[in-house]
């Protein structure tokens, strides 16, 4: 029946593959933070074209399943003349998808700041750029940390989908391992354990940050 040896034996190769799970989700969130900041700024700007663009960006990326986005990007990049390795395409797609959610997180965080603070800064004669970089952003970033950790957990899970474009992360590696050992149950359960382990660590980090940043 259940083979304990296969179950524990799978952890070695799967842990090795977890590098790519962490790479895709880590770089994905980093890219998402950068693009998300621009989209958030566009959404908050007074320029209607930018607002409209941000709204469409967010609505499209949140409305289309990540799996479809991945395949779309995978086939679109070569057509428009960009030849990058599959891993880069995967990271870019995950990052772009995350940017939509992150821009909303930041919009919420900025909205949660008391308006009086930026009004006071302007009244004191700070110029708008300083108000933004010294008053609004530092606080908004701290405020959004728990939500960002949550997003990272979602990305770790979502990174299992990049297995369909051939990235050898935990899910893909477990498929290969299941095919060689003929024991899919044990191998996939081991994969589930690895994801669970990563996410429990991240959830702990999130609780810690929530605790630390609570004023």
């Amino acid at each position: 029946m259940f083979s304990i040896e296969t179950f524990f034996g799978s952890f070695g190769p799967l842990f090795w593959a977890a590098r790519y799970t962490l790479l895709v989700s880590g770089l994905g969130i980093a890219l998402g933070l950068v693009i998300g900041a621009f989209i958030c700024a566009a959404g908050l700007s007074r320029w209607t074209v930018a607002q409209r663009f941000a709204a469409i960006w967010v609505s499209f990326l949140r409305g289309v399943p990540l799996l479809v986005q991945l395949l779309l990007m995978y086939y679109l990049l070569p057509v428009i003349g960009i030849n990058v390795p599959a891993i880069a395409a995967a990271v870019i797609t995950v990052g772009i998808c995350a940017s939509a959610y992150i821009s909303e997180i930041w919009r919420g965080a900025i909205g949660a700041l008391p308006r009086g603070q930026s009004e006071a800064a302007i009244a004191m004669g700070m110029d708008p750029r300083n108000v933004w970089t010294r008053i609004v952003l530092p606080q908004a970033v701290v405020l959004s940390l728990p939500a960002l950790v949550n997003e990272l957990i979602l990305l770790v899970k979502a990174s299992s989908l990049v297995s369909v474009v051939g990235i050898l992360e935990v899910t893909r590696a477990s498929q290969a391992h299941a095919a060689t050992t003929f024991r899919p149950l044990e191998v996939y359960l081991a994969a589930a354990c690895i994801y669970l382990l990563i996410n429990l660590c991240l959830a702990g980090l999130g609780r810690y940050l929530e605790h630390r940043t609570a004023v």
Binding site: L67, V68, S160, P184, N199
Partner: protein, 220 residues
């Protein structure tokens, strides 16, 4: 670009779409029912039961849907759970959604003013009828926005079922694109289609929300 393939593959795509909607509706409803049962068991159950359910929630929420499907579909037969792709997919969706729905119901139940339940007890209502007449109606209304929201998220999760060969829309589109080599067009149209579908469902959801919660707004 060659658009006539969509005409040629129309019936196949339509069937795939029907299966997508079927999986989504049934998976959502079953997930909601299971989630509701979990939330009730967590509220009224003994400690070991609550602890067990909490572990279940953490495990399902901490693992990717795709891996859960693999365990169920490819690992299931080893413990005698031999399912076809479609039932396995439905069961997978139900299990995947249930902890999220359970958490939604749990916080909604917590939002029901305690005085209402105490009042019901004081006038001698039995616990089952308190659940049926006080807890559920009040809880469901406050849970509605979150329920709608998560149901929309589930629409997008249905495409993952294509990986375990459930013949839903994504699966049919992939089949079409490998037969015709029109990968880009097929995926582009699929993306636009889902965009429209999700927008449509969220608009309908918002309308449903305002209709059901109207009495709350009028009173305050």
């Amino acid at each position: 670009m060659e658009w006539s393939i969509f005409q040629q593959y129309g019936p196949m795509l339509l069937r795939g779409f029907a299966i997508t909607i079927f999986c989504w509706l049934l998976g959502t409803i079953l997930g909601m029912v299971l989630g509701l049962l979990i939330a009730l068991a967590q509220r009224y159950g003994v400690k070991p039961v609550r602890w067990l359910l909490q572990t279940y929630i953490e495990i399902i929420r901490g693992t990717p849907f795709l891996v859960q499907l693999f365990v169920l579909y490819y690992g299931g037969p080893l413990i005698g759970l031999r399912l076809d792709a479609l039932p396995a997919g439905l069961l997978g969706l139900t299990i995947y959604g249930s902890p999220y729905f359970a958490e939604i119901f749990r916080s909604a139940f917590r939002a029901v003013p305690h005085g209402q339940i105490e009042a019901a007890r004081a006038i001698g209502m039995a616990e089952p009828s308190i659940i049926r007449r006080i807890l559920l109606p009040l809880g469901l209304v406050s849970a509605l926005p979150a329920l709608v929201n998560f149901s929309i998220i589930l629409t997008k999760e249905t495409v993952i079922l294509s990986i375990i060969t459930v013949p839903e829309l994504m699966y049919q589109v992939q089949r079409m694109s490998t037969e015709t080599f029109r990968y880009l067009e097929a995926n582009l149209v699929l993306a636009l289609f889902f965009w429209g579908l999700v927008e449509l469902i969220s608009r309908a959801g918002r309308r449903l929300e305002t209709r059901i919660t109207k009495h709350l707004i009028e009173r305050t």
